[in-house]
């Protein structure tokens, strides 16, 4: 099983849309996929019409054997399951601080026979939970709005990974919520030097179809299969797939 973390310490950059759409595309292409909604706001769970889990608590999750598996819910789509957000996930940081650094990795590894891909929809913060996510992931994908501030955040992340001896972790970034009417977006997008080798070619535009995910409560491809964001997410998945599974482009 490959673990893909969708991470950015900033909020509102399109993490959940990326996690939901990439997971959906991977599943539709035959990968047994599990998406874990780690963000207590529960947006991924909402998109799949799955109620967030209220009871249970993070303590039970970390201690109980098979506790993670028992939280899995099937989505309405083939090959795609989800672990819904848990409001108590906000305490996960505190709980994980008492555990070994690889606790989350071990927890995730327990499902490796059942899935080909796990997508972690991460909360916007830099905390103990984030560190544990980095250790559990094979690839960290960072959606960024093409602005100077976003690039600063990426630098902070890279230096953090280096400091924590996590520089072996594969890190990729792509521009999200791109609005070509904005000069700064266009300039940032054209400057390939800014993200260097870790920058993927694909970017995802700011589009009303993505916003409609909230009303349709489905991944964008499920209700608008030929829209621009669908095509962009397909392209993005193709790049991610090559990094994760070393599969060649179709």
């Amino acid at each position: 099983m490959q673990v893909l973390g969708i991470f950015n310490m900033k909020g509102g950059v399109g993490k959940t849309a990326t996690a939901v759409n990439l997971a959906y595309i991977a599943a539709s292409q035959g990968k047994r996929t599990l998406i874990w909604d780690l963000d207590p706001q529960g947006a991924s769970s909402f998109y799949f019409r799955i109620k967030p889990k209220i009871k249970g608590g993070s303590e039970k999750l970390l201690k109980g054997k098979g506790a993670l598996e028992s939280r899995i819910k099937a989505t309405d789509f083939a090959n795609l399951d989800l672990i819904p957000a848990d409001f108590s996930n906000r305490e996960l940081d505190l709980r994980l601080a008492e555990e070994k650094q690889s606790r989350l990795k071990k927890l995730v590894g327990g499902l490796s026979d059942d899935y080909d891909l796990m997508v972690l929809d991460c909360p916007p913060s830099m905390s103990e939970l984030s560190e544990q996510i980095f250790r559990a992931c094979n690839l960290l994908l960072v959606p960024m709005i093409p602005t100077t501030l976003s690039l600063r955040t990426l630098e902070q992340l890279r230096s953090f990974l280096k400091k924590e001896n996590l520089d072996g972790l594969k890190l990729r970034t792509f521009y999200s919520m791109v609005d070509r009417r904005k000069k700064i977006h266009v300039e940032t997008l054209e400057d390939k030097e800014l993200t260097g080798k870790i920058g993927l070619d694909t970017f995802v535009s700011y589009a009303s179809a993505v916003e409609r995910m909230g009303t349709e409560r489905k991944p964008v491809m499920a209700f608008s299969p030929y829209s621009l964001p669908t095509l962009q997410y397909l392209k993005l998945w193709d790049e991610v797939r090559q990094v994760l599974f070393r599969e060649k482009s179709d």
Binding site: R49, I50, K51, R71, I72, K73, A74, D76, D81, R217
Partner: protein, 529 residues
């Protein structure tokens, strides 16, 4: 009416009048809102061998065709989840042509050299339904299948029932339970795939396991021996008749094998029992008739045997010579082709027809009594014990008299006596305690195996030499082929010696005090004076 909570691992089933989608959705209402999302047709084609090897092994193999997809699926009795799935059609029906990686070893082991033939067609109309909760999230998927069964090659499609297949979703298993509770009044039975197959088979008037190459004759101890003899012969005649279409269709080699076994059993019964219970002239004519059937089918069967043995022969010789045996295989296949015409001609001809109908009319049309042998009215148990006891004593006497220096013919005679005794015990086994008869037959079988190995080696090495001469005369195969055949014959000759050496130890075991006492207790006390 109260219903038991259904077994959720098995589909719910109803045999009553068909219900439609609307009735189904109404019944499901308390579990959540339901909607039919897809409607499609599927075709289930069930396969088994002629002698139901998969059924007797608690398996069923079905080719499921739905849309553009076709899969071979294996189910085990008592389980609803398939034990194996292999994409694609069944092909020739021989296991050698099926995907060995995807089908369980049990299928290969059970089916062996037999061919899988269609046993039943089931056409289904499938309505896929999804149940949603108040968030419009799918919480359960299920399929309503309407089943119509049909015998292969016949039209009709009688309605066989409807069933509900649940496709529970992870994390929402409780909805399956809720839905099942709501449906149990409409679908009161739970049938797994194996049971569904048997049910549909019954709908078209068939029964699984209605043929077995083994003997399964139920006799009453006090029935007159003449009546029992007729019952046994009718049973054997039926086996011959049932195998004839398979021989003519050249479906697999075992139809002829079973046919010939039934012929041999008939001849064996004629020589061991019927002399005393059926009229002498009838027995004499039947002996000649069945000897003719044996002779007319013998060469074709031999060719089958050697063709089946060919891969084994190849493994007996060094790899570099194996290809040279291909010409031998080609010769056997050519011979088989021309012999097939003779066999078909015989089985479809008047002489065979007269033998079979005449024998059937005699057996079915006359009562035991006037004109029969002197013991026709003797209770069959006494007659059976008498005949088995006599056959066993004769076998013991002959077998004791041979040693490693005895001519091969003596071993052959002992083998025939052992075979006749075995047939006799099988005919009469319902008259004796099951486990004791089973143990006695098991002991005899060990002795038969050694004698069989010896005889096979003698016959096969001679036959390979004979075929070699025929090939040479016909200009088929080169010197290397004949050399490779010679190497095979030589290896087989060495087996004669191995079998001979093990005969003494096996016979000592067969004739030890415990086995002797077992036979004496079983058969001597009821025997005729």
């Amino acid at each position: 009416m109260k219903h038991k909570l259904p077994d959720l691992n098995r589909p719910l089933f109803r045999t009553g009048a068909r219900i439609n989608r609307r009735e189904l959705l109404k019944a499901l209402q308390p579990a959540g809102d339901g909607a039919v999302v897809e409607n499609h047709a599927a075709h289930y084609q069930y396969y088994d061998t002629f002698d139901w090897r998969l059924y007797f092994g608690d398996l069923t193999l079905v080719s499921i065709e739905s849309g553009r997809q076709q899969n071979l699926v294996v189910f085990r009795k008592g389980k609803s989840e398939p034990v194996a799935t292999s994409p694609g059609p069944i092909g020739s029906g021989f296991v050698r042509d099926l995907d060995p990686e995807r089908l369980p070893a049990a299928v290969k082991r059970l089916v062996g050299i037999r061919r899988l033939i269609p046993r039943l067609s089931v056409f289904t109309d499938c309505n896929q339904v999804r149940i949603v909760n108040n968030d419009q999230k799918t919480v359960l998927r299920l399929t309503l299948e309407t089943l119509c069964a049909e015998k292969p090659g016949r039209n009709g499609e009688p309605y066989a029932g409807q069933r509900i297949l649940f496709h529970p979703l992870k994390g929402y298993e409780n909805y399956q339970q809720k839905a099942a509770k709501n449906l149990i009044a409409l679908f009161p039975e739970c049938l797994d795939e194996f049971e569904t197959f048997l049910h549909c088979l019954k709908t078209v008037g068939d029964r699984a396991g209605d043929y077995s190459s083994g003997i399964n004759i139920e006799l009453e101890p006090n029935m007159p021996a003449g009546q029992a003899a007729r019952q046994i012969h009718l049973y054997l005649l039926e086996m011959m008749k049932r195998n004839t279409p398979g021989i003519l269709g050249d479906i697999d080699t075992e139809y002829l094998h079973d046919f010939r076994v039934a012929t041999r059993r008939t001849r064996s019964a004629l020589s061991l029992v019927d002399n005393e219970v059926l009229p002498a002239d009838v027995v004499s004519k039947a002996k000649q008739d069945f000897q003719l059937i044996g002779q007319m089918t013998s060469r074709f069967r031999d060719l089958d045997v050697y063709l089946l043995a060919l891969p084994g022969y190849k493994s007996l010789i060094p790899a570099e010579y194996r290809e040279n045996l291909d010409a031998f295989g080609q010769f056997l296949r050519q011979q088989r082709q021309s012999e097939k015409r003779n066999l078909e001609g015989f089985l479809a001809g008047g002489r065979y027809h007269d033998i079979i109908t005449g024998w059937h009319d005699y057996l079915a049309g006359t009562e035991a009594g006037a004109g029969d042998g002197e013991s026709a009215l003797t209770p069959v148990k006494s007659m059976a014990s008498h005949c088995i006891w006599k056959a066993w004593t004769r076998l013991m006497k002959k077998a004791k008299a041979i040693d490693s220096q005895s001519p091969k013919e003596r071993y052959h005679e002992v083998r025939i006596l052992a075979k006749k005794l075995r047939y006799l015990m099988e005919f009469m086994s319902s008259l004796y305690p099951r486990s004791e008869m089973k143990a006695a037959i098991k002991n005899l079988k060990k002795l038969q195996n050694v004698l069989g190995e010896f005889q096979d080696a003698v016959v096969q090495s001679a036959a390979i030499r004979r075929y070699g001469c025929e090939m040479s005369a016909a200009g088929i195969g080169d010197a290397e082929t004949l050399m490779a055949m010679g190497m095979v014959a030589e290896t087989i000759v060495a087996r004669e010696q191995i079998a001979l050496e093990s005969f003494k130890a096996t016979f000592d075991q067969f004739s030890n005090k415990a086995t002797r006492t077992h036979f004496i207790n079983l058969f001597s006390k009821d025997s005729l004076p």
